[in-house]
Structures are given as C-alpha cells and as structure tokens.
C-alpha cells in the first residue's frame, strides 16, 4: 500500500438529475500505466475532471500523495491533465503554449518537447486554431509526455491521429515511461490497440467502478468456449456463463471465471475449443447493459 499515489473514497457527482459518478472509490499506485475504459457517458471524463479539481464532487474524498487534493496547489502541481476538449487559447502559437506550460510543471523537459515536435512534425510557429484535429491531439501529447509529471493523464489522446502516428505515440509513451517512470492514466475508446501498454485497466459503467485489475488478470478472467451445444450445456453448467450465441451449429459461450489448468484439460477432453477473449470484446461483455459482469 506504500505505492499508493491517488485515492478516491465514495466520490459522487451529479448533474441536475443525472448521477455521473456514484460512490466511486479507487486506489491507484505509483509507476503504472492505467487504461480508463467505459462507454460514452460512463463517467470517465467526470472522474478525471474531479481528480484535477476542474469540477467539484458533491460528496467523497480525493487524496493525492496522502493529502486532500481538492483545490490543493501542492497536489495539482503534480498532475498534468491533457483533456479531450479544447482548453488552449486559440490565438496562441504552439511554441508559446509549450513555453507557458513548461513554467507550470517543474519536471518539464523542453528539449524533449522540441524533439517530440520534430518527431510528430508539429509546426511550432502555427497558432492553435490553425491546427487540425490530429495536430491538436499531438500538441496535448507533447505537453503531457514532456511534463514528466508524477501523475500524467490523457483523455482520448489519439483522437484524429492516423494509425502510424498512434503507433508512434504508444511507442514513445512506453520509452518515456521506462526512462521516467510515473503514473499515467489514459482514457480511450481505442481499446484493442492501446491495451498492450496498460499495466492495469479500470472499467467504469454508469458512474460505478466495475473493475480495476492488471491487464493480465483481466485477460485471464474470461474465455471463449465453443463446441457442440449439448456438450457445452452439460460441461459448462457449473460455470459462470455470461453470454452465449450460436454460430451455425456451434455454440459459443463467454465464461467469466479464471480457467485453471485442470479445467482446461477437462474442456479439451470434451472436444471443446477454448480461446482467449480480446480486451475489446472483454470490455463489451463487462459493460453490456443486459449483463452484470463485475471483477473484484
């Protein structure tokens, strides 16, 4: 528990009649890359805005480095949050935005920021409002990475970026993380391509925490099992099946439990196919409105 860097307790936020975040408690640790996943309107951005005091909770506590983080300059100065929505001044030039940002983050590495601008071909002489959607995202990436803040948060960092640039970002993030370990939170909808960089995954649904676990544990928490319908029904009767579908004459089930070696052997002996579930599919099963799959 010594590695705890950020903690929320019973955080609740409502907008008029809508509860965006409901009794939300979470503990994040040092030097990990967290993926923050949830469907549209699940409460991801609300959570990030609360962590950084951009908005206020109706109840609950937020602690960063052990102290109350609400409007605390000491806590806020340790967080670099690059939001999805535009908060830059449209008429400011890119180089001016980067230079101003560097004054507010004590670990900001200006040389690294310049290197990133060159690497991502971001023109520093352009004004912010002249940038395309993709380059707006790149500017956020440059500031977020170069800040080297103990807690760095990206909300949808790869919006508008092509596949090659997205790949560059993931590689750059990992390289920089190895050199400058810190806690990074990435909220994204592009789950499959970013899943490999996450050490842990947070899943939110309807303002509630559904799962916070390591990516490996999450992968192991569900599996596909397919085969003849009569065999499937018999063999899986004592297992936690959360989804079934027929593909031709084959019945495919999603089983929500860790598969032990002995059980795997039993399933294979029954001529059933067992395969891992891609993280994106896993996320869909977790957040499926008709099913309730929770992971402790």
């Amino acid at each position: 528990m010594n590695d705890m860097i950020l903690e929320t307790a019973n955080l609740t936020k409502t907008y008029k009649n809508v509860t965006a975040l409901n009794d939300f408690s979470i503990t994040l640790e040092k030097n990990k890359i967290y993926g923050l996943l949830g469907r549209n309107g699940a409460g991801k951005t609300t959570l990030l805005n609360l962590l950084t005091s951009r908005i206020f909770a109706h109840s609950g506590d937020i602690n960063i480095f052990g102290e109350n983080a609400v409007e605390s300059e000491a806590a806020l100065s340790k967080i670099c949050y690059m939001p999805e929505k535009n908060m830059f001044i449209p008429k400011m030039k890119v180089k001016e935005i980067i230079a101003t940002s560097s004054e507010f983050y004590e670990n900001f590495d200006m040389n690294y920021a310049d290197k990133l601008c060159d690497k991502f071909k971001l023109s520093k002489g352009k004004k912010y409002h002249e940038l395309s959607r993709g380059y707006e995202s790149i500017l956020r990436i440059v500031i977020g990475l170069a800040s080297h803040s103990p807690i760095t948060i990206f909300d949808e960092p790869v919006l508008g970026l092509d596949a090659a640039v997205r790949d560059m970002f993931y590689k750059e993030l990992l390289e920089d993380f190895i050199e400058h370990p810190r806690t990074i939170i990435i909220s994204t909808h592009l789950i499959e391509e970013s899943a490999n960089i996450f050490s842990d995954i947070i899943i939110i649904k309807d303002g509630k925490l559904i799962s916070l676990t390591s990516t490996e544990e999450l992968r192991e928490s569900m599996f596909y099992c397919s085969g003849r319908e009569d065999i499937i029904d018999r063999v899986l009767s004592d297992m936690n099946v959360i989804h079934t579908e027929m593909v031709g004459s084959v019945k495919v089930c999603v089983v929500h439990q860790k598969l032990e070696a002995s059980e795997l052997k039993r399933l294979q002996d029954e001529n059933l196919d067992v395969s891992p579930i891609p993280i994106q599919k896993l996320f869909i099963y977790f957040t499926d409105n008709d099913k309730e799959a929770t992971h402790e």
Partner: protein, 245 residues
C-alpha cells in the same frame, strides 16, 4: 508563490502585447488626424487632454472581459488552483491599470509634442469638470482608480458570462442599450432635484470640493466591490468548456 508569479507573468504578458498593438493603432489614427487638420489649414483646431482616455477605456473594458474565459480555462488546465488564478488576475489587472495610466500619459505627451508647435488650442477636460488646479497625484489617482474600476467591472462581466453563458451577455447589452434610452430623460426630468443626477454628480465628484479625489475614492470602491464579487464567483466556479472556447 511560484505558480502565482507564473500566472501574473502570463496575464500581464498577454495584456501588454495587446495594449502595445492598440497604442500603435491610436498613434496612427492621431497622426492621420493631424495630417487631415493640416490639409484643411485650420488655425482654430482644438485638442483635449483626454483624447486617448475614452478609446483606451473601451479597449480595456472589452479586452479584459473577453480574455476571462480563455485565460481562466488555460490556467486551470495547467494545474493552478482557482485561488491562485483569481489573485493573479487581480494583481495583473492592477499592473495593467498602472500600465494603462503610463500608456495614456505617454500618448498625451506625444500628442502634445505634435500639436503644440502648431499652436492649436489646448483644453484640459479634467480641469473643466473639476474646476480645480490639477496636481500630478490627483490626475494619476483619477486615471488609475478609473482604469481599475473598468478592469474589475469588466472582469466581473467575464466571470458572469463564464458562469451563465451567452444569455448573460445578451441581457447585459440589452439593459445597457436601454439605459441610454431611459437614463438621460430621467436625469433631465427633475433638473437639479433628480436623485439620479445627484448620485451621478456625487459618483464623479462633480461640484464637490476636491471632487477629483471623491471620484477616485468612488472608483476605488467600485473596483473593490466588483473584485470581491468576481472572486466569490470564480473561487466556486466549475470548469465550463465550449467547443469553440
């Protein structure tokens, strides 16, 4: 402290840039007016000591108000607390008010240097309004407190617009336009017995002993009141981001 000074640096740097551009614009405009006067060969041209004051006040009023939202959001994004942002704005706009006094004084000196050799008539409007011998201190305090009042009132408008959106702007400007229709007749209707007229005279220190100081004190009170209200709004304000920002 470091963050506060960084915020002040950011605010004053942005304001200085736009102020210098506006000063340049005013100088060009005044140079053109001199050229036009010379072309007409007018020997009876009059210039006043407050020629730069009105455009500068309007500039300050608009510039401070429209800067509120983008600056507030930008500084909030960079991890500053609301308290730091609000204090930095107050200190910055005090510095900007001082800078504006210097800017207006410089423009006055430049214009005097340009007009005097041409033997144009010189009128000091503050002298006429307050019927007193102006001192350096009284003139500076009048300009400084007035610019502060304008800055802090404009800051208040910016904070209200941030909180309530465009609907506030529409209501404010509609009320402002209507006031020009209704207030002048109200001032006239009762002559010297009008409470409103008396209040306006008191506020601007007209017909008072040391009226220029009365006006300065009133401007300062207005600045402080709107400063406090703006602080109370800003300190509890949740971030609002429009697509356009």
């Amino acid at each position: 402290m470091n963050r506060l000074s960084n915020c002040i640096k950011f605010e004053t740097k942005k304001a200085t840039k736009s102020t210098l551009i506006f000063m340049l614009f005013l100088l060009v405009f005044y140079t053109l007016s001199i050229v036009l006067t010379l072309v007409e060969h007018s020997n009876n041209a009059t210039y006043s000591s407050m020629g730069f004051f009105m455009p500068f006040s309007i500039f300050l009023f608009i510039n401070v108000s429209i800067s509120y939202t983008p600056h507030y959001n930008f500084l909030l994004m960079l991890g500053n607390s609301r308290k730091t942002i609000m204090f930095s704005q107050f200190i910055s706009y005090f510095i900007i008010a001082v800078g504006s006094v210097i800017a207006v004084a410089l423009l006055e000196l430049i214009s005097q240097a340009m007009f005097k050799p041409m033997h144009f008539n010189y009128v000091n409007l503050l002298n006429i309004v307050y019927r007193t011998n102006l001192t350096f201190v009284s003139t500076v305090s009048w300009y400084l407190t007035l610019f502060m009042a304008i800055c802090f009132f404009s800051l208040f408008l910016g904070a209200m617009r941030y909180k309530f959106g465009k609907i506030f702007s529409r209501i404010f400007w509609a009320a402002f336009a209507l006031s020009w229709i209704f207030i002048p007749p109200l001032l006239m209707v009762s002559g010297n017995k009008s409470n409103l007229l008396n209040f306006v005279k008191y506020f601007f220190g007209v017909d008072y002993n040391n009226g220029i100081y009365v006006a300065s004190a009133n401007f300062l009170i207005v600045a402080i009141i709107f400063g406090i209200i703006t602080y109370l709004i800003g300190i509890k304000q949740e971030m609002i981001v429009s697509e356009k920002n």
